[in-house]
């Protein structure tokens, strides 16, 4: 079983994010970057599938700058066999990035391509489906349960208010949702070996952006909460405020 996992380096969700001076991007100074949390589920699932199959390989691919090597090494430390850095900048919209990834994947052997369902930085949720389209692969997104039996895949998808179960034959593409598994911590052995594992660098060039960012805005400042009172006595006033002031009921 050969599995390719596409991953992205993103700011830690707990980082304090500020607008950059140009007003078009995020100030990365002092921001801690991590492997995109949804990609962690994808990496974990790939490792589990490989372990269950008893053979095969797991590779990770990312499109990004030199600093993305850190992200690739995290995946290597988790147990991934090899990594590929496509040197170039991702596009604002998903398509440019998807084109670069699809181009790189096309030349490689694989049975399954895994993604996280979204990158938590720009939250586009586009790239997995676009890569599947470009490669002509069956695609299941927002997957919370996965079974691979020989070449047959059964995937449980999260849909509004319930679940949907889909089947397809390999090769195919899966985008992982939270709940798919519990990602492992990188092992110490993995950490020590991460640098010794192959990390291929490809000059991919920057992805074409078909969208232009014209402004980035901070979320509105949240006003301080109010304590209306305590116990049952406070309920009428709470309801009044929710109806007349907050206008939510």
């Amino acid at each position: 079983m050969r599995i390719i996992v596409c991953v992205k380096r993103v700011p830690d969700s707990e980082s304090r994010i500020a607008k950059a001076k140009d007003g078009l991007s995020v100030d990365t100074q002092g921001v801690k970057f991590v492997l995109n949390p949804y990609d962690e589920y994808a990496v974990e699932e790939a490792l589990k599938l490989k372990e269950a199959a008893g053979d095969g390989s797991v590779s990770v691919i990312t499109l990004g700058g030199e600093e993305s090597k850190e992200t690739l090494r995290t995946a290597l430390a988790m147990g991934v066999d090899e990594a590929v850095l496509l040197k170039g900048q991702p596009s604002v919209d998903g398509l440019g990035t998807a084109e670069k990834l699809a181009e790189a994947i096309k030349g490689r052997e694989y049975d399954l391509v895994l993604f996280g369902k979204q990158a938590i930085d720009d939250d586009n949720l586009q790239v997995p489906a676009m890569v599947a389209e470009l490669l002509g692969l069956p695609c299941a997104t927002v997957v919370t349960e996965l079974q691979v039996d020989g070449g047959a895949v059964t995937a449980t998808r999260e849909v509004e208010g319930g679940h949907e179960i889909v089947e397809f034959e390999l090769p195919g593409l899966i985008a992982a949702q939270k709940g798919l598994n519990e990602p492992r911590y990188p092992s110490l052995k993995g950490i020590m070996q991460a640098k010794k594992k192959p990390l291929e660098e490809v000059d991919a060039g920057d992805a074409e952006s078909r969208l232009e960012v014209v402004e980035v805005m901070n979320p509105p400042v949240r006003a301080a909460g109010q304590i209306v009172g305590e116990g049952a006595d406070a309920v009428p006033e709470l309801v009044r405020k929710l109806r007349d002031e907050a206008k939510v009921i």
């Binding site: 850190e70 052995k189 950490i191 020590m192 640098k195």
Partner: protein, 418 residues
């Protein structure tokens, strides 16, 4: 909140260090943070998490792979202490004492057979370890040791008591000092021994699958005594050790006869680096909590963190943390390189212990009444910080060590007589 980043890290840390740090950070947030308050309140030892930390390999960080360690270095194990202590200092010292107080003297002074027999078990986290130096009459003055070892044909007989021993009850492998005779100048000859006993918490250890070794031959006449109820480090085990005609085979002397004092001084140098990192972690953990709280809490229609009185203190806080990092990581690298480092270790520990105490008092202050309740982590960190100025040499003792590097040994009338 992971907001704290430091360019000091970029200066000292390799990619492996960073991955280790991030892994431990995630582990501490996921597995330790949710239970730390309860273990502190109950004064309960966190066996479940000990098993998980053993599985991750945290007990073997600096030891070579041939002894079942991770093959990392002193700085790496300092980082583990720092990250664990941000969330729960009791967890941090459980690992820290096993590595830098029990395994370390075996690694540095033990022979190959001792390393294979004892170090490997500690490195795997199969059992916990402890270091017994302090006695009722020998605190800061460790040379006041009264535990005696009497030489017999093929073994030693130990009698005495050690007190305040971290992992004393829970552990199974121990390094302890005892007086083995007198030198020609009348001074005590102190040597170290490796001893073993069954963990006090056998049931818990068996339940979690770590903490008890079936193939250790226990030292007859050696057992644990009373467990302390403490201000802080409440989920860490601090217990008395009792030697009653304890029979220790000759081959369990650790290092050369009469080198006990010198060897434990060197062991403590390493322990102090771990403690410095631990205390740094407390100061950082308290700052992270305080940044979060003061940017959410509003008074006078203003976020608390927007008051200049708070900002200036927070600025000092981060400045001191970065200074503490330089001191600590520098000392760790000196030790790793085999360079002299006892002054640097003492400075790092002194500085970071005062920092942790200052920082946690501020943290509670800036949380107001909320910080005074157990609902928030900072009151626990404040109680946990205090040990930093006492354990592994009090702050006064660190100052003595540092001053000796400038002025040489103190000459006092008593010393001249001796």
């Amino acid at each position: 909140m992971h907001g704290l980043t430091s360019s000091v890290d970029d200066n000292y840390l390799s990619d492996e260090h960073r991955m280790l740090r991030d892994m431990v950070r995630e582990f501490a947030d996921n597995e330790i943070a949710p239970v730390a308050r309860e273990f502190d309140r109950e004064g309960k030892f966190p066996w479940g998490n000990v098993a998980k930390m053993a599985e991750l390999g945290l007990f073997g960080i600096p030891w070579p792979e041939e002894y079942d360690g991770a093959g990392m270095d002193v700085l790496a194990s300092a980082l583990v202490s720092e990250e664990l202590a941000k969330v729960c200092p009791s967890h941090a010292i459980t690992v820290g004492a096993t590595i830098s107080l029990a395994a370390s003297p075996i690694y540095y002074f033990g022979n190959e057979e001792q390393k294979q027999r004892y170090l490997t078990k500690l490195a795997r986290g199969e059992v916990l370890g402890a270091f017994g130096l302090t006695e009722p009459e020998a605190g800061s003055d460790a040379q006041g040791t009264q535990t005696r070892a009497e030489e017999k044909s093929d073994h030693w007989v130990l009698n005495g008591t050690k007190i305040f021993i971290t992992n004393g009850g829970v552990g199974e492998i121990f390094v302890a000092t005892a007086v083995t005779g007198r030198r020609s100048n009348g001074q005590k000859e102190i040597s170290s021994f490796i001893l073993t006993k069954e963990t006090r918490d056998l049931e818990e250890a068996l339940a979690v699958g770590t903490g008890h070794a079936v193939d250790l031959e226990y030292t007859p006449g050696f057992t644990h005594g009373k467990k302390e109820d403490k201000l802080g480090w409440r989920a860490s085990d601090t217990t008395e050790l009792i030697f009653e005609d304890a029979i220790v085979p000759k081959e369990n002397m650790l290092g050369e006869r009469g080198h006990g004092f010198k060897n434990f001084m060197q062991t403590l140098d390493g322990g102090r680096i771990g403690m410095a990192a631990h205390l740094l972690g407390i100061a950082e953990g308290a700052l992270e909590q305080t940044l979060k709280f003061t940017s959410e809490r509003r008074q006078f229609n203003t976020r608390i963190c927007d008051f200049q009185g708070i900002r200036f203190e927070i600025a000092d806080w981060l400045t001191r943390i970065e200074a503490g990092k330089h001191l600590t990581y520098h000392a760790a690298n000196l030790r790793q390189a085999g360079e002299p480092h006892s002054k640097e270790a003492a400075m790092a520990k002194l500085y970071c212990s005062e920092l942790a105490n200052w920082a946690t008092v501020k943290a509670v202050q800036f949380h107001g009444a909320y910080g005074y309740t157990t609902e928030y982590r900072v009151e626990r960190l404040m109680r946990d910080a205090k040990i930093g100025e006492i354990g592994e040499g009090t702050s006064e003792v660190q100052r003595m060590v540092i001053a000796r590097h400038l002025l040489g040994p103190e000459t006092t009338p008593e010393k001249e007589d001796a």
